[in-house]
């Protein structure tokens, strides 16, 4: 057990200070434990959003020593015992107070995505029938806890502030989960190129690197979507094939 120094951001979008706190770190503590201890003992008005403390609600996203992380899943023994720990809010979103940011922009992006449209003929007496091999890709994307660490680290939103041009990795994953759904018949490819901004992503894998659910956002979600855009708009062979034979009707799993 030792006293450790923490620098925690206090302020809002306009002004802010990294305030020093010294507190005792006990074995097994995570960064969120430390923040809550400081809140209880030294700064009662310190704002932090948290809920489950189990890495499943996605509320406690912050930047620890500059890296976007869930504070409840970041153990203190990951850091050297003499290292000062700096805790700041998510940089890509406006700060409401201290470590709490306004992530409502993300909800607006979600509304842009065309919802699921199940093929009417896919409903049998047994209900909707799907097979494991058809849904396992989509299951990976369903693990998303909407912590917005990927949205925060994406340099298109974070550094270049192109929030009007790109919906961000989290919503590319949502589009993937709908586009790859075996029963969905909606076409989102034109929107994917034009409105969702698939071409803005330069696949630097940072979203994958920070995902606490280890979803392979870039390799399994964004790149397959980019390839579907290539099929539709860039590959002359698939374009000519579609012109001659028409749009391929989606095949549904056998009942």
């Amino acid at each position: 057990m030792a006293k450790r120094i923490f620098q925690i951001f206090r302020g809002d979008s306009e002004n802010g200070v990294l305030v020093n706190f010294e507190t005792e770190v006990k074995e097994g503590m995570v960064v969120l434990d430390v923040i809550l201890e400081i809140q209880a003992e030294q700064a009662n008005d310190l704002a932090i959003r948290w809920n489950c403390k189990a890495g499943k609600c996605g509320s406690c996203s912050v930047e620890i020593n500059g890296k976007p992380k869930l504070s409840c899943m970041t153990r203190m023994n990951e850091y050297f015992s003499d290292q000062t720990i700096t805790i700041t809010p998510l940089k890509a979103f406006p700060v409401i107070k201290d470590l709490v940011t306004d992530v409502s922009w993300n909800y607006e992006q979600n509304k842009k995505i065309k919802p699921v449209k199940l093929a009417p003929e896919s409903k049998s007496e047994k209900g909707y029938v799907m097979y494991q091999e058809d849904v396992e890709r989509v299951q990976e994307f369903r693990k998303c806890i909407e912590c917005y660490l990927c949205q925060n680290v994406c340099h298109i939103l974070r550094d270049h502030d192109k929030k009007d041009k790109f919906i961000g990795p989290r919503y590319m994953i949502r589009v993937s989960s709908l586009e790859m759904h075996p029963l969905d018949i909606e076409d989102r490819i034109p929107e994917l190129k034009k409105d969702y901004g698939s071409g803005m992503c330069n696949i630097t894998h940072c979203c994958t690197d920070v995902c606490p659910e280890n979803i392979k956002i870039t390799d399994n979600g964004i790149i397959p979507l980019k390839e579907r855009v290539v099929d539709r708009f860039y590959d002359p062979i698939t374009i000519i094939k579609r012109k001659i034979f028409g749009k391929k009707k989606k095949r549904l799993p056998p009942f």
Partner: protein, 285 residues
């Protein structure tokens, strides 16, 4: 005693970050690795000589430097050049500008070059290392000024969508390199094994692992489907997809291994062709 520090979270600029780890290591290694490869590759291609070694034997077999394969044309009378029978289209064309060396490598270098340039893995590495968009995760990108600032892969960089076609050509290179490997196990028609044979066999194996893990191939062979249970083809695609996905998860590893290996194999053939190294082999020549 520590003092509180005023901070603005809106500070933007190249390499601005609160990260305290060695984030610069990855882009630094990529700059070193890719620059080294490009410098060696262009130097080797520009030489136009010493790309073949068969210990002076005329018959079937010999080592061909991978940067020079396939031999579309061959210039006669060049030291360390392959026999004319290895040329696909015959003697070196007379229209070739005199200021460019008559190097078979210069004729084919663009194809693997485009494949690697447009590869989804290399895009990550050079966007981070060379264009700084971003240099590392949560590290400030190089600010983009101009009309609309950062455009990603929408403007000129739509050229990246050529990757699928470059991949088809890269497949041909695997077959060609396997033939070169086969050739390297013979000297004057006699079977044997040399260090060069092993290097030239490792080249298409590693290149194959890299190409078969390609994201575009993964899409074409199964990823574009939404239903695998619908048909026999879908079930085959699902099974194949597992192999391709295994390779795809190691795409970075094989991208680098195949890059380093081909460079080393090329260098080795050049060195033994120039007589600076002696090839250890079972032929005893």
């Amino acid at each position: 005693m520590h003092t509180n520090v005023s901070i603005s979270l809106n500070v933007k600029g190249f390499a601005k970050t609160l990260r305290k780890d060695r984030w610069w290591l990855y882009p630094g290694l990529v700059v070193f690795g890719l620059t080294g490869f490009l410098v060696y590759g262009f130097w080797s291609a520009w030489q136009a000589d010493f790309y073949w070694y068969s210990a002076g034997q005329e018959g079937f077999g010999g080592y061909l430097a991978p940067f020079y394969s396939p031999l579309v044309f061959i210039k006669e009378g060049v030291v360390g050049a392959a026999p004319m029978s290895h040329s696909i289209l015959g003697a070196w064309p007379s229209w070739w500008p005199s200021w460019i060396p008559p190097s078979p490598s210069l004729l084919i270098l663009a194809i693997p070059g485009i494949f690697r340039f447009t590869c989804y893995y290399y895009r990550k590495s050079y966007y981070r290392a060379f264009t700084g968009t971003p240099p590392a995760c949560a590290v400030g990108s190089i600010p983009r000024k101009g009309k609309s600032g950062y455009k990603g892969e929408t403007g000129l960089m739509q050229v990246q969508n050529l990757h699928r076609y470059a991949m088809y050509f890269a497949m041909l290179f695997i077959i060609i390199f396997f033939y070169d490997a086969y050739l390297s196990f013979f000297r004057s028609g006699e079977f044997g094994i040399g260090v060069g044979s092993i290097l030239l066999l490792g080249n298409p194996i590693l290149l194959g692992c890299y190409v078969f893990g390609c994201h575009s191939l993964r899409h074409l062979l199964g990823g574009s489907r939404d239903c695998y249970s619908c048909s026999m083809g879908g079930q085959i695609a699902h099974k194949n997809g597992k192999v391709i996905t295994w390779l795809n998860e190691r795409h970075e590893l094989f991208a680098w291994l195949s890059l380093i290996w081909i460079m080393f194999a090329d260098f080795y053939v050049r060195m033994i062709s120039m007589g600076y190294l002696t090839d250890l082999n079972t032929w005893g020549i």
